[in-house]
Every structure is written in structure tokens, then in C-alpha cells.
Symmetry: C2
Subunit: 213 residues, 2 copies
Amino acid sequence: MTERTRIRRLPQKAVDDRAVLYSILDLALIAHVAIVDDGQPYALPVGCARDGDQLLLHGSKASRLFKTLSSGVPCCATITLLDGLVMARSAFESSMHYRSAMVLGSCVELAGEEKKEALEKITQHFLPGRVAELRKSTDNEFKATSVITLALVEYSVKVSNGEPDDLVEDLSSPIWAGIVPMTHLWGTPRSAANLAEGITPPAYLANWPTGRA
Amino acid sequence: MTERTRIRRLPQKAVDDRAVLYSILDLALIAHVAIVDDGQPYALPVGCARDGDQLLLHGSKASRLFKTLSSGVPCCATITLLDGLVMARSAFESSMHYRSAMVLGSCVELAGEEKKEALEKITQHFLPGRVAELRKSTDNEFKATSVITLALVEYSVKVSNGEPDDLVEDLSSPIWAGIVPMTHLWGTPRSAANLAEGITPPAYLANWPTGRA
């Protein structure tokens, strides 16, 4: 944690624990990555995965975002998992249950064997079990994809998972108070329109983790 | 749309339709809002709601983010709804189903009656049906909350909801291909630990929209 990542608002929700950071990143599929261009900030959704103490981001080599990130400019990657709504007895104390992580730093583009391994880790993260049955990527596909890493060095983590924090004088209110959890669940797989008959969804889908967002 | 919001990557997924923008914002609970401070971009999750052609953001008056946003600096608010994973016959063509919106501009802080109405709209958006049964906010609560608006003028919208876009030579692959949808669902309400006995969750919870993230 640095002065730039010190949590000032609701510091009691700050979590100084690398294991919690990892647990958030291990569920996350999308990071919102912010860059600055000509004084204007941009935040864009990017597919992400964790590899040890690195956050992997992947996208098109031709994209403006990845060209900019690869040049090593300062960036910020933020991941938020929404876990539910807190219905307190007042609008003011009502809030959300969430887990969020913000990582600051500069990205480094991967190449060669490192890039190849990172791409497999990304596929494994998004589609656990899929790597083994996919054909190998072609050279053109490999070249068209950019993989960059952001070191998990300067970060903050915030977790909100508590009870409604009502004023004492509101506790006698006759209205319901509590938590409405939100779950992120995989639905029934839908076969591609051009799938040959007789091919069924892979069994490993049943093992996919929920709670992802 | 401006040059700053023209979608360059996968432009076929760009949607130039205000109704689609509104439909995304009307489901969204969290926007990732990016600002620049001393050359460093920051992206932070913020509770959001739409009011006509304005995006409403609310947070603590004391927060650094809201102080910065209220000063009218350039910002970016990005909303992403993750709808599923596209399992193509190659890693390269595998992707996500999503709806995302990016809004650029400068925020304006609300005060007085406008702020009061905006706060009710935010509560109604987050907790539909709740406003009628909540007590009125106190003056201190009202003062401690900041509500700012970002005009929906300069924005881009991207929707990915298609079939796996495999290479022709991959169509004879023996592996399954298709879409694994992701749903965002409300779970069973959990009463606050200090809730008086006999108070049950409100009936309006059954009418809450799903698909939110």
C-alpha cells in the first residue's frame, strides 16, 4: 500500500491481505483498465486473469488501449465483484456488498514463450478445462493478440460484507432490513447454430466456479 | 459519437442507439469512473443510476473522488454487463457476450431540490419499491452525500451477443461450441441480525429486475 492506494473512505473496509486480493482476481473475468490520453481518462473493460503476482490482460494487438498500455504509461486496473445490496432502515445507510481491488502501475508486454504460457493461463482461467481440447493457436493468431502484465505491487482492496449499520434510533423502525445477495451463475449452455449434431457440452462446465463477474 | 468515442476495435459491435445506452444504464448498479490525478489514472466503482439524459453518481461528500469529480475535471464512466462466454473452436475466437457503455465528460454537482429528487431516483433505481417505506433523510445525511451528474452526450456503446465466429476450417472440429450464458440473480433475502421478530422481507423484492451487475 502506498499513499496513492491508501483507502480514505470507510477505511474499516480496507483489507491489507494479499490472499484476499488473489481471491478477488481469481474470480474476476473483467477488469476496468484506465489510461490517460491527452488529459482525458478512459476506462475500458478488459479480460483479465491472475498469474502469481501478476495481473494478465489480453486484447487485440491493434487496439489503441493495448498499444498505449504496452508503451508503459501509468495505468489503473480495477475489479469489482458485486455481492448484494444492503437494505438498511434509511437510504443513507443502505449500501452494497462488494469486493473490489484497484491496482496501479505500468504494464509490460509479453513475448515468446512467456506470452504463450500466459495465453494458456488466460484460457484456463476463462474456460477451465477447455485448453486440452482446443487446437493450437496459429502464428497469425498469436501475433494478433497482445498479452500484458501488471505487477501486483501497488494496490488496494476493499471488502464490504457487513450487516446494515443503522442509527440506534432507527432500530425500532417497523420496516424490514437485511441483505439481498446477488449471485452470478452460469446458465444452460446453448449450442452454436453451426454445431454438428450429436456434439454435447463438455462435462467440465459443471465444475466452473460461480460468483464471477 | 465523437472521434474520442468512435469504436475502432470490432466496429461491427458498435451500437449507435440511445435506447441501447439507456437499457444498459437502467440495469447497471455500478459504473467504473476514471479520473486523472497528477498524471495517474484511477478507476473507482461508483453507484449509478440514469435520470433522463443524465447519469447520476452518488458517494460521500468527503471522498477524494467526489471532490475531484465535482470540480469539473474530465472523467470517464464505464459500465459493463457481462452476459456470458462464447466458446469458439479456437482460443483466439473465444470471447464474451457483454453490453458496455463508456461516457466521457465533466460532472456537475447537484444541490437543493434537484439533489433531493436525484437521491430519490437513485434509491428507486437500486431498491425499487423501497422509497415509500423509508423515513426521510436527515439534514446531516443530505449534506454528507454528494450527487453529481454526467450528461449522456459523448458516449460509445458496444454489444457482443453473436454466435462463435469460427474459421471455416475449424467447423469440422469435433469439440462443442456455443454460448455459456451468465445470469445475475437476486438470492434469498437475509434478515439483519438485529431485526425484530415477525418482520418479513417486502413483497416488492419479487419484482426486482435481474440481469444487473
